[in-house]
Symmetry: C2
Subunit: 514 residues, 2 copies
Amino acid sequence: MRQYETFELHFTENENHENAFECNISAEFTCGEEKKVVRGFYDGEGVYKIRFLPRKPGEYTWKVSGIVNAEGHEYCDPADEAHHGMVKAVDTHFEFEDGTRFIPFGTTVYALAHQEDALVEETLKTLGAAPFNKIRMCVFPKDYLYNKNEPPCYAFEKKADGAFDASRPCIQFWLRFENILDRITAMGIQVDLILFHPYDRWGFDAMQQADNYIYLDYLLRRLAAKPGIWWSLANEYDLSRTKSLRDWEEIEEYVAKNDPYGHLLSCHNCFCHWDTKRENVTHASLQTKSLTEIPRWIKECKKPVMIDECCYEGNLPQFWGSLSAREMVFRFWRTFASGAYCTHGETYLSDDDVVWWAKGGVLKGESPRRIAFLREIMESLPGPLVPADGGIVELAQMSPEEMEKGMAQQPEDLRDFIRMIAASIGRMRVDDRTAHIGGEHEWAAHVGEEAFLWFNDLMCFGEQTLRLPEDGHFRVELIDVWEMTRTVIEEDVSGETIIRLPGKEGLAVLAMKM
Amino acid sequence: MRQYETFELHFTENENHENAFECNISAEFTCGEEKKVVRGFYDGEGVYKIRFLPRKPGEYTWKVSGIVNAEGHEYCDPADEAHHGMVKAVDTHFEFEDGTRFIPFGTTVYALAHQEDALVEETLKTLGAAPFNKIRMCVFPKDYLYNKNEPPCYAFEKKADGAFDASRPCIQFWLRFENILDRITAMGIQVDLILFHPYDRWGFDAMQQADNYIYLDYLLRRLAAKPGIWWSLANEYDLSRTKSLRDWEEIEEYVAKNDPYGHLLSCHNCFCHWDTKRENVTHASLQTKSLTEIPRWIKECKKPVMIDECCYEGNLPQFWGSLSAREMVFRFWRTFASGAYCTHGETYLSDDDVVWWAKGGVLKGESPRRIAFLREIMESLPGPLVPADGGIVELAQMSPEEMEKGMAQQPEDLRDFIRMIAASIGRMRVDDRTAHIGGEHEWAAHVGEEAFLWFNDLMCFGEQTLRLPEDGHFRVELIDVWEMTRTVIEEDVSGETIIRLPGKEGLAVLAMKM
């Protein structure tokens, strides 16, 4: 047993049970005064397994009860350098359990596990060399444009009438699936596992809620002890033709309640965001192209915000799959320079319909190496970025009382002018105001007083005034996000600092305390 | 006297009057059963002038009364080919009085008339070779960043205490100003004349309302008979430190009431749009970067929508003055492909602070020749573009009743899905919904069933499905808006048509009936 690594007990019990998959088998693990009960699962051929994730080192005793009765003890070694525990949401960023920072750089291969072995192998090889440390992928196969192939196997066996039987997991599927998950997480890539999705011709999206629970129960017993998995309740929950909002809420509650470890949990939207303020939700997982709204969302939900779909690099005939590599890279920078996290996807038309975004294979695009460049910079920061305060966004959202409170810090001759602007903004319709503020958004974030990042996006400034703390010694770098160059343009500056810029799109400015 | 050209009567009257500028002199012009009374103005050195704009040919008699009494008659010849009358708003587009289409392609030289003669000459020369047929410029001088120079003269004489006296126009100013206006309009460029603006150190923005009326009275008597002028009440009305919303409304009412001809009239905002539904307002003159909202605004105000400020091509340190040429061009295409009209401006840093946007001089940018290319295409269309109906925008704005009414035209198996989408959109907060819809906006407009335009913007489609009328014969052109190329890619197609595209940004597709 080693801290942060899945510990597994095996038992063979050949006696027949009514339904081996809903078996009554659990173990109590005790370490000092801490006890945790985890349930086991049937793995076929008479084998029952119980998996446990130890999160601190020390002497453990375990006691199995139910259809098997047994007990034992194990010494749990402290974690090795490769294992940091589960990723947790801390304030508006992510950390591993041991405190190591985790900055997600995601991609999507939604139907990865539903492709033939050769393609899966190719995908894993590509992932091994790619800059991504998070992947969104589905338990169930995908029926959609460019996704019409049958998977090698399914999560459940079929009933006599040909319908899938949620109460009989297909062991062959789960072994294969688990192997893929394990190989991905072993590469340091977190799996944002999509539990339901609406692109379905097999009936997995149309199961009764009771069957949804049976499926989730098995999945949680089987997978919850794996530290590298996040629960994504859905891709585009609001496109499911069969589940009501209340159904989704119950699913959320079921997963949270039956997960012994508290994995990250989110729910991905098409239109209306899942309510990220709900207690079980650890972070926002948003489909959106409206990146200017990120600071507001971070402020509202007070949790990490993942932009889990902002269109994909590619040339599909759909707006969601036809970003240039440049625009994909710019969207990453906009997102990170707003204090949030971004997910990549790639959708180049292909004669054989092997499109990375859903099936994997090889990456053809120009964005991944620029995302690697961004990742390197983000990992060099002294801490997590949070969006810059102030500006027109704040002003627009203030009550008159709040505004007057803040006014004391404004120069006296500007106060009437600020009140006048606020009055004009206040007269705007909400839709006009939202659009207006979005149009004037500045992409700016900072790490306390330690580091300041501006992504200048399409603005071709010939010069720029940085407002740095008066008492620091800052080094200022000019970053060309497409050309992937970093140039130190100022050393040892502080306070209001005017820098000269070459007047082109796609530049970022990073000021870091020396 | 000639139709659509200013007719002028001169009288010399050396007797002293209390205030020659507020003189009582007017003329009644009669043509058949139509009578129009126009007031005259003092032009200095004892000269009083009355200007009249005849709008139809025929025999006119005129009778002057007030401090001068005189009468006479003139035959008004029909217009020559160079004169089309005033520009009028018709539905959501513009036409000259004689029915000739006018498609505005604007630029700004706000303080054009407040520069020294040599610079004014250079600006007029530049305008003569530029693609612009509308210019926004101010009556009053400008005090702002890069605008600190004193003008050669001012609209008013000064009082003994050094303050400007609205009741004593400076004839030298008005003669010079008028000459500039006349030379610009003679080049076929409409002058969108800005009557007030807040960038002021001389007090022109801080006059009492009574003085505002005295100034407007003189201006209207002097300039209203010139057909090439539009009244822009303000640039950024809501940044005036001295005028309340009610003051502005009164100014609007005063101008509309005292203009005998009904020139185009608008009011330009910084934040909250001027209420374009007001009766005196002929069209929207918007500062906005939120071009995705254009179809909604057109639908709401049912008048032409001019995007009179969407940032400028340049490299200033401000977000509003640092667009790349490409982005300026793209914003023009987005605007036109939404059924609206767009205004250019150029703001390159310059050692002598001569920045085109406010002072004129020469154009340095790369957008004007691409705007010329767009203008050529727009002028080749069989009529005015209106934004495409339908799509998610419409759905989001429908009441449940409207939605059910439209549902009958939808395939039966899609209706529940559409209802579900509408429900999710309906649950969104207004700000989230606005941002969402903006993020998925398609730039598409059409001229009836005759022509269809899509601007694909950043979308790098490898193919695209056009939904053309079933019964037409369409020629499809692929337009590269930056490279300025037009390539016929389909001939004689109709109905659903799939076209192959090269997967790059900045392409437009134009399908026109052959």
